[in-house]
Symmetry: D2
Subunit: 299 residues, 4 copies
């Protein structure tokens, strides 16, 4: 069976999922979709996708099943039970897990799928919804080598870069956590640097200047430096309440491996406080506002 002949199932049409799914559809794959809120399947149906009435039905009609869900709990619930993914999986089918989950959960999922003679590929992605829509994500892939060989061409529909990490599923999710951890640490740091500059009477343009040298080839971080400098938190790439959820994921993973996550503690404290101060729907870089509030800047 060639890649083009693979029947694709896609579960979870949220902000990230809908972008990736649209790119898979645009690439010409036969597509079946499922979403708890059925109305979100409409745009895909209009372009020719089948809409499954149940998870089970979707799995039965698909060779490769992508899931883009909220968290560990929702992925595990989607796999379990008589009506779940695992019950309908057959040898040869591949489940591609896009959700950011705990690394240990990825290993559990791989094992559960293997017990059914099928495959679980950990395939978390790096990038925000706009990158998902533009097909410009980065994806990490870990799991059975032959299954990855089948799946990798599909991921080119939504990812410009594929990094294959070997057989251990958790590795892909662990690396995803490393990337987001690096990014989140920057937000609190930049918020503090710009607040210090402001309180010191140092023009923000000068700080932006050095931030641009610092993040010369890292466009997303340059954008965040701009947002924080301008305090432009209403254009939302990734919202603050999602940022707090992410922080808790990192923390759980670090603690499970016995490493204390100091570098994001300032970020996490500010995400908690920003949520408590009603900023949950702003861009997550709005955590900066809490550094400013503590520094006596009230606007």
């Amino acid at each position: 069976m060639t890649t083009q002949q693979l029947r694709i199932g896609f579960i979870g049409l949220g902000k990230m999922g809908s972008g990736m799914c649209a790119n898979l559809q645009a690439a010409g794959y036969a597509l079946t979709v499922y979403n708890r809120t059925k109305s979100k399947t409409q745009p895909f149906a209009e372009k020719g996708a089948k809409v499954a009435d149940s998870v089970k039905a979707l799995v039965e009609q698909s060779d490769v099943i992508f899931t883009s869900l909220l968290d560990d709990k929702s992925v595990l619930a989607m796999c379990d039970g008589d009506e779940g993914i695992l019950a309908a999986m057959r040898p040869g089918k591949i489940h591609v897990g896009l959700t950011t989950i705990q690394p240990t959960t990825a290993d559990v999922l791989k094992q559960q799928h293997a017990a059914q003679g099928c495959h679980y590929i950990a395939a978390p992605v790096v990038g925000r919804p706009d990158a998902a829509a533009a097909g410009k994500l980065i994806t990490f892939l870990a799991g059975d080598a032959s299954a990855i060989a089948q799946v990798k061409p599909l991921t080119q529909a939504y990812a410009v870069k594929q990094i294959v990490l070997g057989e251990t599923a958790s590795a892909a999710n662990a690396l995803k956590i490393c990337v987001n951890y690096m990014a989140m640490a920057q937000l609190a740091m930049l918020g503090e640097v710009f607040t210090y500059a402001e309180k010191s009477g140092l023009p923000k343009a000068m700080v932006l200047n050095v931030a641009s040298m610092f993040f010369a080839g890292n466009e997303p971080m340059q954008e965040y430096a701009n947002k924080i400098a301008e305090r432009e938190f209403d254009t939302v790439g990734f919202d603050l309440s999602a940022g707090l959820k992410d922080a808790l994921i990192f923390e759980t993973a670090f603690i499970a491996s016995g490493v204390k996550p100091s570098a994001i503690m300032g970020a996490k404290d500010n995400l908690v406080a920003a949520n408590a101060n009603g900023l949950g729907s702003k861009d997550w870089s709005a955590l900066t506002q809490m550094t400013r509030l503590m520094a006596g800047l009230k606007d």
Copy 2:
């Protein structure tokens, strides 16, 4: 008087100072040097520099006086008293302060010099001793515009980039603090990410791979990521006890402006601990070893 005719005095021939001074000498300026430990003036004398017996004598023979000292206390002490810099300064002379000091101290120095009819230019530099020796530093310049106009061509001897920040002397030192703050926050973050990867069984090459994307275009940070991945802390660009001193400078400056420096707290804790564990003379990125020790990794 053309730039080439300016008589230059240089006080403080430590790791950073000797590199900058050598580049000024190589650029052909008439040079007088002074150092508390006189033996360090020898290499400059051999290439034709005058060696002053006192600070006062040096100032009297120079139009532009550079100081590269340890900290606020040593700069203030060097300026004060009957035998100090200020007592010997005359209208038109310019004092170029290269030392990393508190921004508020820079403003005090500017005022003291102005009261004598002369100039203080805050001129802290970014870069390690190897960059000083190679003439590849970045310098920030703040103070009287006409004095900066005279001094700026001189700084080209040791700096590839000059950023002029206006009349307020403290701005140059505040920006220097911003830059180093950004860098220091990364070290603790990288140490935690690599330790997490190690404990999770994730190959360090993969983390290096994403770190390289993250810090694309930022060569020094890429080097630090390498050092931390390889735990190669014996090649010392900037030692750990100097790193702790730096952390305390940032913290004092942030607290003075009412901003809490969360982003470097992990770094600072680890610098304190690493010093207590006998790593003071290693590269400052060896703070990583403390994250590893806490995570149960003893080697």
Copy 3:
């Protein structure tokens, strides 16, 4: 029905539960017990308790059902499903929840029980297993007033003090979190103070002396000060891995209410590190060892 006529069911015979249950039995109440590992019911059966084969059977035979379980998840699982507590509850029956759970979970449980016409009383206890065995716990009680009136005399079997907090179930669990939060913050603090004293050459007896003034009427804290001074971590009142679990409970509760839990961050970091360093089965005050390790004290 008088208090003495109430038929008592007790689920969960772990370290805390077995002590409380033994005191209820010693007070003369008719008792049915259930435990997943059946062997733990043996001592109670020998003294005349009935042993239920299922949760459902226990609930059917009891007027007041005590549960002493591990965490939110285990309590919710024990209540749910066809074989769970809720399915067997009838109007008038009272479920007394002893487990330390999230306050929000207590409110959910109260509501679920009310929907069945029965009662959930939040009844977390303060004290370690030795206090449970000695009947010297403190208990907080929250829920329906008439149900509390029935339950309160029973709690005298294991608690020397009853604090009634009104109708809102979560209040009892929130107050329990406050108490443990206060205690945990002290452990990290005492560990740091004694380590500082040791590194400063200050005799520990002097620090113990002032700690005794500080905690004059707080015997448990005085004991902890002693343990930390002597580094006597093998007599275990509450083990370190349980301490880490507790820290995560506090943190979840604080974050849910938008308050950052700074005061226990040092404790939590050290609990994580101590677990990673193989101290999970020591007394939780052994987190002190991590402060010492970071300070360069290796014994």
Copy 4:
């Protein structure tokens, strides 16, 4: 010479100093006073004290010289130079240092005095200005044993408890730091607990109740729990800007001995923020307001 015949000199009539000095005068000792702002000597002169025109004059007329100053810098400056304390000290005279200074500074002072054949006794006190005025402080004493024997009866004028720590001067200051460190850690902790209770709808009276059990026998901490519960920060025992100064003293001492001061980090962050928010003149327990602000409570 009997204790009553000792001529006492007292330098530094601030909030703490004036209370202690008044008690020494009330106890009947021959007294000479000196204060930079001379008006503060007036009340003492009115009751018969001599007022010295210079430090030197005071030392010449006294057998035992008490100093109650601001910090290390002011103590060292007061001792140094031709007009300083050391220049006027003669064998047999005793300098009693009441100021909270770095332990290492106390050892330096002891050595400097010994070099002149006289004594320095480290004698920091625990308690607020009201306790100084009431003669109810606690004092730690360290230094030469025979000098302590002479000085100890004098300290009974202002202290209800004397704890002698041996010959090493720094020990007294280190122990003082331990005590204040313990107290400061509580303030941030209590502020967080009461804020959590407030956000959780838990009545503050209940939290006060358990706080009273926790700090049974520790009156000052019970008072602070009350202040924080009532947010009554206008009655000022020790102001917030002094609290921040204290935090920095602890931190410097801990870092100098290689111990990281995690337990007061929350307190310090809040002290910095509270100062930045204009609360510097409130009671230091007002740091609680910052925990509330971050939690979205604006009053």
